[in-house]
Amino acid sequence: MVELETSLSGVKLSNPIIPASGTFGFGYEFSEFYDINILGSISLKGTTKSPRFGNPTPRIAECYSGIINSVGLQNPGVEKVISEELPKLAKVYKKTVIANISGFSLDEYVYCAEKFDNAENVSILEINISCPNVHKGGMAFGTSPENAYAVTNAVKKAVKKPVYIKLSPNVTDIKKIASACEDGGADGLSLINTLMGMRIDLNKKKAVIANKAGGFSGPAVFPVALKMVFDVFETVKIPIIGMGGISSAEDVIEMMLAGATAVQVGAYNLINPYACKEIIENLPAVMEKYNIKNLKDIIGGAH
């Protein structure tokens, strides 16, 4: 028997697999495919203070081994997420979830964080300071250590639940941002968000995506993500949720060896709705193959 259990700031997960924000909606729709209670947790669709339609379409472009999206934080707003989406999810998912929060000002981050702090089935707040698809806000907070510190600090002061900061890879040195978040009081870090990218339609000779560029994710970014998790693990003491192109149980183990305490699966959900289920089911056999008895023991093992 192998042990899959892990924990994030005292929140126990039966396994480290978490569908990533923005690739799993508010979770309940995937229960049409399988019993989602097997998931370690779920990171909900990025939520803002006010409802957002998001960006114009087309919002999607395909790449070799990946996808570019420019959804632009479409969500019904924090009030509706709490009053409508969370109860729908609670009917089909009995574990606690991770609320993913975006904002355009410090006040907005704090506003949403306080709301989710009081939501029963939310156990971790994931603060997204790395959305590449909105002007101002989003990534603007995640590309300077000072701003990253300020957001972390403001949110931490306002809430009781563990605060994880989701970092952007679109920076010169992610370690500096990670340290700033740790100094600001972050309980953990999530990385990486998508890399900025674009495609051009040869027939139209214009960008495929209406907003021109978007966030690139999928297996192509896995080595980039792995390296960043590896580097950040050496820089901070707080736990890391590793993500970026994870598409197999082997990828999960690699990411944990680099330093992740849990992982998120993103783009892969979009091409295979059973992605997380298959990875969870494959994990024990892959662990046995590599003589791993307890997943917790391998965190950061590659250092």
């Binding site: 049409e32 669709k45 919002r59 081994s65 999206n69 959804v71 495929v208 979009l270 091409i271 059973y274």
Partner: protein, 244 residues
């Protein structure tokens, strides 16, 4: 409900210069309405390709697709006997309950395929289906005979006048008395049909999709009834909810 399964390619044949018909054998229980689509994984391409269901017989799904890029080009080279990974049962589909006795079906180009299964279902219900099928030119026409077999009346238009009625579908649709309409085709055609229609009806839209099952929010549009995902809440929208 949706299903992901492997399907056997029974045939994959060229209907016109860039239009292909593929027949897939496998589980069809999750396809419940005409106008729904399937999402096909193609080796070497990250995203699946969403293609509407053209016909359904017990364990055989027929699709008709146009080669528009590298993914569909690769699809067109897949040999019979191959196995494809396909998600089925996607999209809301048309509502045949609302058709009345004389439903008008309007298709343009590669928008015609999903209307074939719709016409079949409606005529099985005893409705007198009127079909107006628009193509650019005579050499692009497909399925005309098949529609003629099941429809009460079938008219074909060609933009260049090389076959039957010269012009767009809207130049012909006024000739008929109909109780409801169903349309699928390029957006300018849908808009023209919407403006010309004398009754209520439904329009099937297209958008670049990520997942095809409602998770990524890649294909959202605004409607009078709120934001809708073309893949999950659509692709069929009621006439009264469409915002252009």
């Amino acid at each position: 409900m949706y299903k992901k399964n492997n399907y056997l390619v029974l045939s994959n044949i060229k209907l016109t210069e860039n239009i292909f018909e593929m027949r897939l054998k496998g589980d069809t229980e999750y396809i419940t309405k005409p106008g729904q689509f399937i999402n096909i994984a193609i080796n070497g391409f990250y995203l699946r390709r969403p293609i509407s269901v053209c016909d359904l017989n017990e364990d055989i799904i027929t699709i008709i697709y146009k080669v528009v890029g590298k993914g569909t080009e690769k699809l067109s080279t897949i040999k019979e006997g191959s196995i494809l990974d396909v998600l089925t049962g996607l999209g809301n589909g048309f509502d045949i309950e609302l058709s009345g006795d004389y439903p008008l079906i309007i298709g343009g180009g590669v928008g015609v395929p999903p209307l074939y299964y719709l016409a079949k279902k409606l005529s099985q219900e005893g409705k007198k289906v009127i079909a107006v099928l628009g193509f650019n030119s005579k050499n692009e026409i497909f399925y005309e005979d098949k529609f003629k077999k099941i429809c009460y009346n079938t008219a074909v238009t060609t933009v260049d006048g090389s076959y039957e009625n010269k012009g767009y579908v809207t130049s012909v649709m006024d000739r008929f008395n109909y109780t409801y309409f169903y349309a699928c085709g390029p957006q300018p055609m849908l808009k023209a049909v919407y403006d010309n229609a004398k009754t209520l009806g439904e329009l099937s839209f297209e958008e670049r999709m990520g997942c095809g099952f409602g998770a990524c929010m890649g294909c959202t549009c605004k409607t009078k009834y709120g934001n809708k995902r073309i893949c999950k809440d659509g692709p069929v929208l009621k006439k009264e909810e469409v915002i252009w």
